[in-house]
Amino acid sequence: MRECKIVSRKFEIPNSHTLAVAKAHGAYEAMQMMKEYSPLEIIQIIKDANLRGKGGGGASAGEKWELMPQNSEKPSFLAVNCDESEPGTFKDRQIISKDPHLLIEGILLTCYAIKAKHAYIYVRGEYKQYQDVLQNAIDEAYDAGLLKECDVTIHRGAGAYICGEKTALLESMEGKRGHPRLKPKQKEPEWFFGNPTLVNNVETIASVPFIVQNGAEAYREYGTEKSPGTLLFAMSGHVNKPGVYEAEFGTSMMEYINHYGGGIKNGKKLKALIPGGVSCGVLTAAECENLTLDYEALRNARSSLGTGGMIVMDEDTNMVEALKNILEFYHEESCGQCTPCREGTGWSDKLVGKILDKKATKEDLDKLLEIADTMNGKTICVFAPAVSAVIVSFVGKFRGEFEAVVSESKE
């Protein structure tokens, strides 16, 4: 397996979060290249590299940047999404705590390309200790005169999963509840107080310096044709060495788990795996066998790559309990704006609880799938469709286990 370190290059270096150490290891070198290009040329490089958003969606970053007006009368903004709340995902915190200057450099390059004068970093409230490291780095950058043309401000969240959805994030920054906005019919930028705004994930922005400095071709050296580059994949759950390890797209899933994760804990067998945060459909061990880690392969397996944060479950895992745990999360985190989501998450959570309490009937299992169907495609954002897909994948792939628990019911 080829080692590749584009974003994680400085992670192992002691004190790499300080400006002096980061600079000694090449930070802000891409800034010198920047002035050789026009903003539109930078956007073209990002498009040529086919950099895809690393927050879960995988949409083309360059195409998103192109939507930003180059000659706007209103000010343009960049909002960096560090609301990392998807269970199983803990990669952005590595960037802001171990190499914050890489993010700041990426922000400067991005702001130059989209002609923004102010960038906000929306950091989830629970990350205060990492946010402090990032704030120190920003202060250092101000003192060193690096932020003359562009301001950077941290905006602290306060514990709402949905604020990772880009429009909910902007609502939250505007001082409101984190309710996702209706999507426009045509492609357009996002809006922050009516001003054109670009929202990108931390890791997406942190990938920009490498691409600007080394060119699109150097980035495309890694990964597959359709999913170029690398991702900070992560593992948690029943593996020997959980953690974040950068790998190129197209890496074999099992090789990754065995090489970096040291295999399944206690010599057990793999039973199931959730590939990219709990919002992705669960995979059985058999499905994982020949799978590669890229957007296309995971989509073909009727799941999704998501954030690349894999949750590994061994042979002793009770899948009904696992689904209950996930549904409790969604029940708690639904923003409550759309009825199918607000009611559906609670209802399905209660139903699986009923199954676990051995008070369910066979009809309840069908009812669960019926609720899942009602939640799919009828809401403002993709929260409810994700819950729906999770329920269908768990019940569909482990139906025997669910039926066995149901059959133990008293009535």
Binding site: G125, G159, R177, S236, A322
Partner: protein, 145 residues
């Protein structure tokens, strides 16, 4: 429950106002400052924040009750937040919760804290305590008391 921002926070608010296109954006930052000042958000703080953000008090109340990290009543004891989401659950958060039952603290079950690779985890006063075992919980709480 009268409330006024400290001079230090008033200076911060003034500084932050320059950094946003509209004062409504100060809603979350002001709520954080109010909570930090008193340990919880006093109801009178909402009127005060309304003046700085131009948002109606009801809107600020709506926001304060939406986000789980804001509290409108004080914690009587040390607040220990334990992550109960999947990775922590798989790695033994139940045993952590069990051990905490015997402690004189306020235990809150929270959703994913973003420490899945170092599970199980609990958060006390914005600090993460990772790779927990029941015995580690004992020593951490002893140190904090």
């Amino acid at each position: 429950m009268s409330f006024t921002f400290t001079d230090e926070n008033l200076a911060k608010i003034k500084e932050l106002k320059k950094r946003y296109p509209s004062p409504e954006a100060l809603c979350l930052p002001c709520l954080w400052m109010a909570q930090r000042q008193d340990g919880f958000i006093k109801i009178d703080a909402i009127d005060e924040i309304s003046k700085h953000t131009t948002l109606p008090p009801m809107e600020i109340y709506r926001v304060a009750t939406f986000y789980t990290m804001f509290t409108l009543s004080p914690y009587e004891k040390l607040n220990v937040q334990v992550c109960k989401t999947l990775s922590c659950k798989l790695c033994g958060s139940d045993a952590i919760l069990e051990r905490l039952k015997s402690k004189d603290v306020n235990v809150t079950h929270v959703e994913c804290l973003g420490s899945c690779g170092t599970a199980p985890v609990m958060q006390i006063n914005d600090m993460n305590y990772e790779n927990l075992t029941p015995d580690k919980v004992d020593s951490i709480l002893e140190e904090l008391s």
